[in-house]
Subunit: 360 residues, 2 copies
Amino acid sequence: MAERSTDPGVTIESLGEFGLIDRLARIVGRPGVDPLRPDATGAIGIGDDAAIWTPTPGVSEVLTTDALVEDVHFRLSTTSWRDLGWKALAENVSDIAAMGAEPRRAFVTLGLPPRTRICDLEDLYRGMNDLLEELSWTRWSGPLIEGGDTVSAPVVMISITVVGELRGEGLRRSAGKAGDLLAVTGSLGGSAGGLALLESGHAPLGDPDVADLIRYHRKPMPRVGDGVTLAQAGVRCGMDLSDGLLGDAGKLAYASGLTAVVEAHRVPMPPSLMRRFDANTARTMALRGGEDYELLIAAPPDCFTKLYPLLDEVGIVLPTVVGRLERGTPGQVTVLDEWGQPMDVGGGSWDHFGGQQERP
Amino acid sequence: MAERSTDPGVTIESLGEFGLIDRLARIVGRPGVDPLRPDATGAIGIGDDAAIWTPTPGVSEVLTTDALVEDVHFRLSTTSWRDLGWKALAENVSDIAAMGAEPRRAFVTLGLPPRTRICDLEDLYRGMNDLLEELSWTRWSGPLIEGGDTVSAPVVMISITVVGELRGEGLRRSAGKAGDLLAVTGSLGGSAGGLALLESGHAPLGDPDVADLIRYHRKPMPRVGDGVTLAQAGVRCGMDLSDGLLGDAGKLAYASGLTAVVEAHRVPMPPSLMRRFDANTARTMALRGGEDYELLIAAPPDCFTKLYPLLDEVGIVLPTVVGRLERGTPGQVTVLDEWGQPMDVGGGSWDHFGGQQERP
């Protein structure tokens, strides 16, 4: 955006709520449309009591809402406002992708200390816009930011709601069947690797592998095209990977009333992760690290043979098989090594309040 | 609800995220439906990546999102968790009513300190359920609570998204025309009166007037039926009164490109407010006090004659005319006394960050 930044001395306190809404709306507004007034399609922008839209005939509506809190989910000492904007929106877009749906509209609720600088908030919105521009290069566009709420708070909190459109049945966690193969898009562990490098405090940022891993952590790319295409190709079971493969595979298996088997050596990792960390650390990051925002699907083996040509046609890589669903204790996850022997890599997923826990 | 409360010693930290979601879901779940699994209508409850629904043919979708933060919007020393649940949901339902739409589904995102007691959260959800039960006595039901997100935070924050369905055009702030009469549902100032009594610290709670005013403050009733009926009867311009009549009339006038004239002596007040406070204080509370969650509409004079029989049929009281919209400085609000002379009652609406401000 060619938009100029506001002077760093200007805070929300000095600008007031309406001036703030006005400036932020301009960053993400559609060109030629006043974001504070209804546009030609009848949508009401930031400014009325509620947003309004006419659903596309024949689609289902899909909605997700997710919150990030300063010093819980991010630290402003290590995260730029611009990266924060990207990531906060990407997480929510990923939840829509996880349903096999296309994101259409986003609503951003901000809790902000009164002394927050306007130029930082502009960067937050620029980060969201960066993601939208990146998504606009694919055939599946991102959501329009249509409104929200801004309130005073002791720390920065960002709560985003994204609404999407789903054609057909979409992907659900509970749709797995015994005998389904588990597969993931992209590669895993990059975000955990990037976070570890950032936290070490002495990562050589000029190193391309380091830059690559930090990018995985800061600017994850939600798998909108993969989700839509997989669902249209007949995949019924899926979710996104936000809390680590083992934890999330446990959730999917639990929702489907089945047990999951993950073959550790099949889990794809970014080459940069394998070069930067020893084999054990890299594998643990790929199995347990969170925030990759790849998709985890479950589908019958014969579905994969049909998937390849359909995905290839739209330039999407076939997900990598990493395990299977079986009858057994719901939600249990067994990890096998390359000789088919059970491995102990620590269990379960991350719990937001109590730390580690066994499973849902 | 006959549901038993959880022992006060149990915190989110000790119960974990999944146990928490499970308990809260039971309080607001539909009887016989497991809130963690898809129900017969295809809706996905609390537990999948996103909620999903099939829009009713011919309706528009309406969405609002609003956040409350501890020690900014409420204090746990003076507000019970149960009242907080009512009010947080009521505010959002009111925004849907303000569009002339019917609330259908709600998503609750909570930021909570890890030591938050589960029994308090159960009370929060019981408060939301109290409102839903109260709304279910009317012909316009409240939204179903379908999901959300729960994260750790240094203070309690409640961010609610409500989605509604709108038939026809609905109410917009920008649809006012010069010559329209401004009118309000119910009475104004009750919430400000209740708050003043609570803050005084020595209100006789057994006094029925005191109890009445405190109820206005703690348990505002969103005007769902009024909004839907007014919109269906042809009213085009409206909003809800959350920031006080003068401030909100300014916003409506601004969005419509007009100036507002309010006749102070026409503003309806609860009898309890007039008995408990002197005339000047009561009038200021009715003009400037916020959180009444009544509706402010603007409509041509002849529309009101048509409105009466339509509203009467469904048991809704005709809104009280309190002023008019005129050509002039957009967003300006002039207050007149009973002799038509301009009065000075202090200007503008409350700004969440900078305190008082003149107008949008």
